[in-house]
């Protein structure tokens, strides 16, 4: 039976069909839906782990125990996980282990662009690159087989256009004895204790394995030569193969499913059979460099940029410029839409608890706001513009401490570090310990909205639920106290003045201070309160409420007679009654609607949380 599936659904399906028993991961776009889809298969244990390194270690341990395991993460997650999978290449496992990492060419929802294929070469593990959903599913099985046969973790490298695109997939069954216990563990120190004297012995084997895998690559059906016109031979993998096929339907191709180690024999064969050899790959010249190192001339990044996506239109454009495609073959896009159309960038949702923090911070002068990744990064945008930095998860605390020891306070400026709750558990606890232990003086703030909101509302250790059911909740404030912070303040996110007071107190305190701003994300909270409205007789168009950046508060057509400025209007379809605007209105012109029932809306009593996630 064929079913249309996204790449992420197909990977989850592959995990099911190919006997995976343990799946771990940390959320991150575009990878998050893999684990979410795996939860439908009751045969598989799955968990959101605290971060990618923890997730990878858990999957490695499960594979040691003898269970087929996979771990999932977004592209930068691999940076966090890397310390774990390098050693697993040395130890091998007792069952297959697949590391699934989703790249983001074009940076749709990532802080940097990186080509994770380098990790395969760096850590010396084989890598598969699916290009559509069928391949995504099939490569899970193939990867686990390779992993077991060669006693090495395998990297399944997907990317946004594979993970979030959909195509038909042939479904299979799970032929697996789910009742069987794992084989008993037998101590084998030379294999599993990575002390130098034992690890060193494995080095030659690791190199030899790559050589053998490279030979195997020439015979693997997922690496195939497709002969066509001999003028142009194209090497491509992943979605780039499909894009290239669209542009060059008649060229000769080497389609690579395994891109490391490289199928060198097939590369030589294609090179010998065509006039011009071209490598079409997104991001770095990963294949191209290997081809060139073989002494084979080819074209690639001399034509294409090493950043962004290479969609069919891009391939057409660059190939026409390079003389590889007749210019008249390039589709000319018409220019119809005016260039000055208003943009539609994302904003904090109505009812978002982060709003009070950034409303207050926007007013504070001489404050360096060292923020982090999550929905709260929207505090960087209009109308707040209230952050100075955002880099990698946990850096909100780590870099804040760096500003302090870099003497920035001597300039008269203060420093505030901000992380979200999921980010705090992910990589914020160690920098907090660092501040405390080294006698730092930072003011650190956790915006605790009770979920990992940005990536689609996953659980984390601060919640009493897991991917499967009830879980043990770790209290953030208590954890900070246990880390040695003496000044710990909790404040209600929906108390705008209270948040301001907590921040000011924290900044004034000598020694490390820690503020937990508590208030649930609208999507996991209690639902809507009463809708609010503006009393137009009292509103004088002061525009203060617009500074909350709430999508529900808009300019009405009515101008105030004295000021000439538009009065505010609250869209009853969008308002969820968080009360923040009422608290800040100097004329008390805003309050709950008493009589009218809330109209049915596109968002209903709870907005649809089904689709849009990122980060």
């Amino acid at each position: 039976m064929k079913k249309i599936m996204t790449g992420n659904e197909a990977i989850a399906r592959g995990a099911y069909e190919y006997g995976v028993k343990v799946a771990t991961g940390y959320p991150g776009t575009p990878s998050s839906e893999i684990l979410e889809n795996i939860t439908q298969y009751k045969e598989i244990y799955s968990e959101w782990s605290t971060n990618e390194k923890v997730a990878t270690e858990a999957a490695i341990g499960a594979a040691y125990a003898g269970r087929r395991a996979i771990t999932t993460m977004k592209q930068v997650g691999m940076n966090v996980a890397s310390d774990a999978f390098f050693f697993a290449v040395y130890t091998g496992m007792r069952a297959g282990l697949l590391i699934v990492a989703a790249d983001d060419p074009g940076m749709f929802s990532s802080q940097n662009e990186q080509d994770n294929r380098h990790y395969a070469r760096f850590a010396k593990m084989p890598m598969l690159e699916p290009g559509d959903s069928q391949e995504a599913k099939d490569f899970v099985g193939l990867g686990l087989e390779l992993s077991e046969k060669w006693d090495v973790p395998v990297l399944l490298r997907t990317c946004m256009r594979v993970s979030h695109s959909a195509s038909p997939v042939e479904l299979g069954e799970r032929n697996w004895d789910d009742e069987a216990l794992p084989p008993k563990w037998v101590r084998n120190q030379e294999k599993y204790v990575c002390t130098a004297m034992w690890a060193k012995k494995k080095r030659p084997m690791i190199e030899e394995r790559l050589v053998k895998l490279s030979e195997l690559a020439d015979t693997m059906p997922i690496n195939r030569l497709e002969w066509g016109d001999r003028k142009l031979g194209i090497i491509a993998s992943g979605p780039a193969y499909y894009y290239a096929r669209e542009v060059f339907p008649n060229a000769s191709f080497l389609k690579l499913g395994m891109t490391f180690p490289l199928a060198k024999g097939l590369v030589r064969e294609l090179a010998a059979g065509v006039e011009t050899l071209l490598v079409i790959e997104e991001l770095d010249p990963f294949i191209e460099d290997q081809v060139k190192a073989m002494g084979i001339p080819c074209r690639g990044k001399d034509i294409f940029p090493a950043y962004g996506e290479l969609l069919p239109a891009d391939i057409e454009h660059y190939c026409a410029e390079a003389g590889l495609l007749p210019k008249e073959k390039v589709t000319v896009k018409r220019e119809i839409a005016p260039k000055d159309l208003p943009g539609r960038s994302p904003v904090l949702c109505p009812g978002c608890p982060h709003r009070s923090t950034f409303y207050n911070l926007a007013k504070m002068k001489d404050l360096i706001i060292v923020s982090d990744i999550g929905c709260y990064n929207l505090g960087a945008l209009a109308p707040f513009f209230a952050t100075d930095f955002m880099g990698s998860m946990g850096a909100g605390f780590g870099v804040a401490h760096g500003f302090e020891i870099g003497d920035i306070k001597k300039t008269g400026q203060k420093v505030l570090g901000i992380v979200g709750d999921s980010t705090f558990f992910h990589n914020g606890v160690t920098p907090l310990l660092n501040v405390v232990h080294n006698g730092g003086n930072s003011t650190l703030m956790v915006l605790d909205n009770g979920t990992t909101a940005m990536t689609g509302h996953q659980d984390h250790p601060g919640l009493d639920k897991t991917l499967h059911g009830p879980g043990k909740r770790v209290d953030i404030a208590n954890l900070a106290r246990a880390c040695g912070v003496e000044h710990v303040i909790k404040v209600n996110a929906f108390d705008v003045k209270g948040v301001e007071k907590a921040i000011k107190e924290g900044l004034a305190y000598e020694g490390p201070s820690f503020i937990v701003v508590e208030g649930p994300c609208f999507f996991v909270g209690q639902g809507s309160g009463p809708v609010y409205e503006v009393d137009t007789a009292t509103c004088n168009g002061c525009t203060l409420c617009f500074r909350l950046g709430c999508p529900a508060i808009v300019q009405s057509d009515e101008l105030d007679e004295k000021t000439g400025r538009p009065k505010a209007w609250i869209d009853p379809v969008l308002c969820v009654g968080c009360d923040m605007c009422a608290q800040i209105c100097p004329r008390h012109a805003i309050g709950p609607v008493v009589t009218e029932a809330k109209p049915a809306s596109g968002n209903g009593s709870k907005p649809c949380a089904g689709c849009g996630t990122a980060g």
Partner: protein, 197 residues
């Protein structure tokens, strides 16, 4: 046959992703090879969204080639206008007649394009412009949540796929207790379109 290319655009939260899911499933049920791609981005936070769906004998890339959309299905006026460049001169545009103000507009930093500007731009792109009153039709059924299905119904009126196939896919894809409302929504959109032809 030549591959048929659909672009689906709107604002995060309007249900465009379910619409592209249904479009893909209908394509499969109608016997086509199908690929689709959604950019999910930060869409739930009120950003613009775009989805690509392609039906054909053999579809390689999930991306609608530049300037080759046969249908532009827009859930919102501004977003519809934004993607006009991608339409073939023979392409068709269906736009839900609804404005959702981006924050730059609601806070007074930018202006929403006027009806005249929108009409003029569409007229340059194609003579085939269908102003679907989808939001009104959905609200008549009691909920704007079925806006996406009304629009699909309207689109179905321009395609050569039996309504039974659409109905079957819808029944499979929407929650059981909402099946009837969604089927009604589908036919409301489809009937509206039939009335235009």
């Amino acid at each position: 046959m030549e591959t048929m290319n659909f672009l689906i655009t709107g604002v995060g939260g309007q249900g465009t992703v379910l619409a592209s899911d249904i479009m893909a499933a209908v394509g499969v049920a109608a016997g086509y090879d199908v690929k689709k791609s959604d950019i999910l981005g930060l869409s739930v936070r009120g950003g613009g969204v775009i989805g690509h769906v392609r039906w054909g004998e053999k579809v390689y890339s999930p991306i609608v080639p530049e300037g080759k959309a046969d249908f532009l299905l827009a859930f919102e006026l501004l977003e519809g206008m934004r993607w006009l460049d991608q339409l073939r001169p023979t392409g068709k545009v269906l736009i839900n007649q609804q404005r959702i103000l981006p924050v730059v507009v609601s806070s007074g930093l930018a202006e929403y394009p006027s009806d005249e500007r929108i009409d003029a731009a569409v007229a340059v792109a194609t003579p085939a412009y269908y102003k679907v009153p989808a939001i009104d039709l959905a609200l008549e059924l009691g909920t704007s949540k079925v806006l996406n299905v009304v629009l699909l119904g309207a689109l179905s009126g321009l395609l050569d796929v039996a309504p039974e196939i659409w109905e079957q896919v819808l029944t499979e894809r929407v929650p059981k207790k909402h099946t009837q409302t969604n089927l009604k929504a589908f036919h409301a959109g489809r009937d509206w379109m039939k009335g235009q032809l």
